[in-house]
Amino acid sequence: MAVNSIERMGLLSVFFVCLFFNSAFAVDRGNFKTCDQSAFCKRQRALKPGQSPYRALLETLELSDSRLTLQLINDNNKVHLLLELYRLQGNMTRVKINELKPLKPRFEVPDVLIAEPPTEPLSVLSKDDNGIVLSLGAESQRLIVSARPFRLDIMEGPEVLLSLNSRGLLAFEHLRLRKDTQAQPDGAEVKESVDGDQQQDEGQKDDDGESNKEEDGLWEETFKSHTDTKPNGPTSISLDFSLPGVEHVYGIPEHGDDLKLKTTDGGDPYRLYNLDVFQYELYNPMALYGSIPVMLAHNTQRTMGIFWLNAAETWVDISSNTAGKTVFGKMLDFVQGSSEKPQTDVRWISESGIIDVFIMLGPKPSDVFSQYASLTGTQSFPPLASLGYHQCRWNYNDQEDVKSVDQGFDQHDIPYDFIWLDIEHADGKRYFTWDPHKFSEPKEMLQGLMDKRRKMVAIVDPHIKVDSGYKIHNEITSKDFYVKNKDGRNYEGWCWPGNSGYPDFTNPEMRAWWASMFTYDQYEGSMENLFTWNDMNEPSVFNGPEVTMHKDALHGNWEHRDIHNIYGLYVQMATAEGQIQRSGGVERPFVLTRAFFAGSQRFGAVWTGDNAAEWDHLKISIPMCLSLGLVGVSFCGADVGGFFKNPSTELLVRWYQTGAYQPFFRAHAHLDTPRREPWLFGPENTALIREAIRQRYALLPYWYQLFFQAYRTGTPVMRPLWVDYPKDTATFTIDDEFLIGSDLLVHPVTEEGSRGVTAYLPGAGEVWYDVHTFQKHNGAQNLYIPVTLSSIPVFQRGGSIIPRKDRVRRSSACMENDPYTLYVALSPKKFAEGKLYIDDGHTFNYDRKKEFIHRSLTFANNALTSSNLCPECNFLTSSWIEKVLILGASKPSKVLLKMDGKETPVDFEFDSFMSVLTLRKPGMNAGDDWTLLLQ
């Protein structure tokens, strides 16, 4: 297609094709920096653990009710820093370190915290020349500030939970004036390049002067053909954290790597720098499209979190004193009672900004989730339809194509909710427009979908074609909303449309204007069933350094360097706001983003970017989404089928089966791949895919309720087993299976030609039911499950109640009034509980008017009861309970429905072989109070 694509895309695609050609089969690592190639990372990493040159000046201590400040001094260069300590509500501690008197302000990341976090009083327990002991509110928690060298320890009772600067890696490159070589009296500059560095030999460096400085990249650095002018000089920061007793750390997405973070000794640190990585490789710490600088630490006793609020390029080193030990070695330690406690050490390095760390002290996993949620907010509550199946491709060619794909779903009786349009739908990649030939009547197309109660997503990327005939470009230009280059002119780079400008989304006025572009009169051809996809928002700049924006580009007063990792968040924020505004604040938005940052969960869904049709990419979709879920982003998915290359039929089927049980369920494919709509692989495979999608739709009530839960509490929807079984060490590294909520355990088949999988069923004394056969299995065992191509191993936890809508229809909207079937899976103690959440599925009325139904379902003492969790709420549903399945039941003599003081008998059937009791058509409204009595 090269010839045609050149015709179609013009010059750009020549570049594009070349770009692709360089690295036809895998990421071209040479396009992206290693730590060694990133000057500040290299400088910082050269600093080894040792005695910190920082000293706390205890005499400067000031303590207001909730804020403690203290000056630190670097004994090597006498630069003063200001330490601020806060005790935050909900068992968190905030540590801020900035220069006491910076030459100019250093960047502090706005818009991530939902509010200034509420504080709690701090009190000094004791103070002497060596330090201060502060009480951290309740419990027996104390914060110890040691003066010389400076370090912080958070203790609970006799245990150290976490220490800061215990390895002496606090380093703060202060702002300074650039002096020419002659005027520079000594080599202090070099030495100060890492202010805390004790290793460098001052005298030796004296003579090297300028050349050495160039090497260190203090005032300028070059990568490939790109030069980063650094008018502010070196500004990087670093701090180490020690976690005694911790062997498992998680989080800091996005990386194509396992759930449990690995030690980085001998390799590169995990990198956080939003990048458009072409055909990314797996199992390495390279940066990807998004960055969430949050790490979770977990052991059987406690879960904690570290939130490093910094939007600049960041590297995270992890080391562990047990990492090198074999299992045998660990056993030996155990037997011999090794004195050495396992410990994980973490070091964060960022290029600019300040140190602003939130230490979330748990102690339970759910506590950490709510602590983080209290800082950055929770997952936005998505419209119900967006939890259905999404059909995407680069590209559906024209309106006819859209229509025929839509019809294909009906012909093959496969439900779907959204069909997607990629960049080709717009007129020459001018977003907010439509190709005049291929999509000449967008409203007609959207109306056609609306008639089927379906929806559409069209892409809107943040690069704007520089074209004086393009309204969006002209308005941004006239309002002076573009990002500027270092010389103050509009920054321009190459992206899909060719030469493009990049709106400055960090500017709230720009975002307000952008949001206004989504109104129906501005966005011509749009309708209320059209939603948005923000791609390329790292931002991707084809001809920029590392395929992104130059760090010395300017966003108002701040350099791109300072804000890089949050740019993508702002794009999605402004787009979601636009969607809310177009409906007058009534309708929930749906916006998918590729780039993200801490807080992005508030604005919609994310996906794992441009993956490939390979089995490893199917496997990695699980840890990638699990990692995101742990740090707040529940609405995560991977391109089903794989974006690049062609999946085998088996891989495609397995991917549907996996994707059906992941939060964001969208098939997507590259322009150059053959079509792969679900019915193109023969009737057997169509049936397998249909079945997987139907399972998804049947479980929509459960997904929806979990998202409501996530929205309320920050608890991840898709989560690792250890979140619910925090004391079971066998779960700590599992990332080939996962939980949806607490009640469904999924072990998708992700191996080619698999004949069986071994699933770990957690929970000693618990039971799990196979959701397809209702067979009961004991917890705390590795269960071998033979599989065929139709198998999706899924288990429901004994003790849970899951509402389903087993009448699968064309789309989620069509299922609105359908009845529920309750799947009651009894625990060994014949107990079960669950929740049911119902609202209109698409407006904010659940929030603003409390228009929803939230019910608790409890099975105890042979009675299943529905009780109202929100008596003040008000919503009417026509859905009713058509069936109740009780798994692990014994046969009753009769079943009565107790409602409004009346008792009516209910028909039932009992399968004694599987111990399944089926109550036939009890018929009560899903919003009512009722009890079913088994007698």
């Binding site: 015709e7 150059d672 229809r809 009845p819």
Partner: protein
């Protein structure tokens, strides 16, 4: 729940109210009515169980096969029958009952969803009849055209077969003629060859005689030159003055050496000088003539044949993209220049050669040559004619070997091309040959596939053509095109699309696929229109 019971009953009431409907549970087709006998227990159609009749259409799925709920969405695998009076009846999946979307034109699928559906059956029926009528007309005319095409094809085929037979016959004659002419040629060439050889030999002899004469004259001249004292003898000393004759080329011609040259004699007269002359004539320099310049080595005049360039052998037509064409043109230009360029080394004209030029053939020989040349020309002409005939036969045989359909109705498309211009490209379908795409506003042509095979469904493979192995796609397959044929009066490409990257789809109408009208005239729902 009671509310739902009511609705189902209401549903019955409605169906009872419309007198055209035969009373039966909602969603049951007439053909299955007898399975649903009111007030008798109902047995699931798969026989799996029997349930009270009030559980039929009670919005709860009891039968695994969904047969107890033909009129509700309760069963995941049920199907609902709409009568669609005025249009065609149909089954829809029961999941489409009351889903808020109007599926049945008689609105019967949305009896409890709040969806406002209009009965569009009459309108649809009318439209369908119109379409069918139009189709029927097209089919009728198309089928007539098809008959003509078949006739023509048959005629054409017969003609061609006849032509091939004739040509085969002619070919035989031609082969005989070629053989005969070959004999004539060979016969004429024999005397020609002999005469030419004779002529050549005579000339060689003549040349030798002349050379001998010249040598003698030179010798005499040398003798008189050497005979300084004109005594009629050439002495040792007289010869010694010619240093150039020095046999060991050491610069001095000694007496002994001279004696050697003179065969030991002290002097020689004109008759004995002959043997001495043989020894010295190659080196001897005439005293009277200035020294001849060293003879210039003249390389033989290379005859510059146009270089046969294997590299520029024409590509198979299919693979030529314009770029290649241009490149080739460039090369051709280069060769042309080469041909036009004057020979780099020119043979200096030499009088000696003129002298040595062969005299023209005598009239007899010339006559023989001309006769032989004519025989050769005649032979070559006939051979060429034979080759051409072979080609023609092959072409016709190739054409005859194509599968042009059961009645050869697709024959007429052979060697034709049909174009469709879209906003961006001109598509060109040359049936049984290739499909191509050329950008409208300049740019190279892309091969979208060459003729592969008929690949329609089993019952009629002639509804789809497949063209394969077109220009390769970057990181993808070779381009290919599927051509779907539908009945039409005209032979036209009606649409093209690229549903998948590099896989093209063309819609193509032709009378050749029009079916006999009797097969389509029967309305598929005639008997349902009550």
């Amino acid at each position: 729940m009671t509310c739902l019971h009511l609705l189902v009953t209401l549903g019955f009431a409605v169906s009872l109210g419309t007198t055209v409907e035969v009373q039966r549970p909602r969603g049951v087709p007439l053909t299955k009515k007898h399975f649903y006998e009111e007030n008798k227990p109902f047995t699931c159609l798969d026989g799996s169980r029997t349930i009270p009749f009030d559980r039929v259409n009670d919005d709860y799925c009891d039968c695994k096969d969904g047969s107890d709920e033909p009129g509700t969405a309760a069963c995941p695998n049920g199907s609902f029958h709409c009568t669609n009076a005025g249009y065609r009846p149909m089954f829809i999946p029961s999941s489409r009952i009351n889903d808020g979307i109007c599926d049945c034109c008689d609105t019967t699928d949305e009896y409890n969803s709040g969806a406002i559906c209009e009965n569009t059956c009459k309108e649809l029926g009318r439209k369908e009849r119109e379409v069918l009528q139009k189709m029927a007309e097209i089919t009728k005319e198309g089928f007539l055209l098809k008959q003509q095409l078949i006739e023509e094809a048959k005629k054409g085929r017969e003609e061609k077969q006849g032509k091939v037979t004739d040509m085969q016959e002619n070919k035989k004659q031609l082969e005989e003629k070629v053989e005969a002419l070959r004999t004539v040629k060979e016969t004429a060439e024999q005397p020609e060859k002999e005469a030419k050889e004779r002529h050549l030999k005579a000339w060689e002899e003549q040349k030798a005689a002349i050379r001998l004469e010249k040598d003698k004259a030179k010798m005499a001249e040398a003798f008189s030159e050497l005979d300084d004292n004109a005594d009629g003898f050439v002495s040792v000393s007289e010869l010694q003055s010619h240093v150039e004759l020095d046999p060991d080329a050491d610069g001095t011609l000694t007496e002994t050496e001279v004696q050697g040259l003179m065969g030991g004699a002290a002097q020689v007269d004109t008759s004995t000088f002959e043997s001495v002359w043989t020894n010295i004539k190659d080196k001897y320099h005439s005293e009277s003539q200035p020294e001849e310049p060293a003879p210039v080595e003249t390389p033989p005049d290379e005859v510059k044949e146009p270089v046969v360039d294997n590299d520029s052998e024409p590509y198979p037509e299919d693979d030529i993209s314009e770029e290649d064409d241009e490149e080739e043109d460039d090369e051709d230009d280069y060769h042309e220049d080469d041909d036009k360029a004057p020979p780099t080394v020119k043979t200096p004209e030499k009088s000696q050669e003129d002298e040595e030029a062969m005299p023209p053939y005598d009239p007899d020989t010339q006559a023989l040559i001309e006769a032989a040349q004519k025989a050769r020309d005649d032979f070559e002409d006939s051979e060429k004619a034979l080759r051409e005939m072979d080609d023609q036969i092959r072409n016709i045989e190739k054409e005859l070997s194509f599968d042009f359909g059961p009645d050869a109705e697709f024959t007429y498309m052979y060697s034709q091309c049909y174009e469709l211009t879209t906003s961006e490209y001109v598509y060109r379908l040359c049936p049984f040959n290739r499909v191509s795409q050329k950008p409208k506003y300049g740019g190279s042509e892309t091969n979208l596939g060459t003729w592969g095979s008929w690949s329609g469904p089993e019952n009629n493979k002639y509804l789809v053509m497949k063209y394969e192995h077109g220009t390769g796609c970057w990181q993808g397959p070779n381009r290919s095109t599927t051509v779907k044929l539908t009945c039409g009066k005209e032979t036209v490409v009606t649409s093209t699309s690229e549903p998948s990257r590099c896989e093209y789809l063309m819609e193509f109408t032709t009378p050749a696929v029009c079916q006999e009208p009797n097969n389509t005239e029967r309305s598929p729902h005639g008997h349902e229109e009550l």
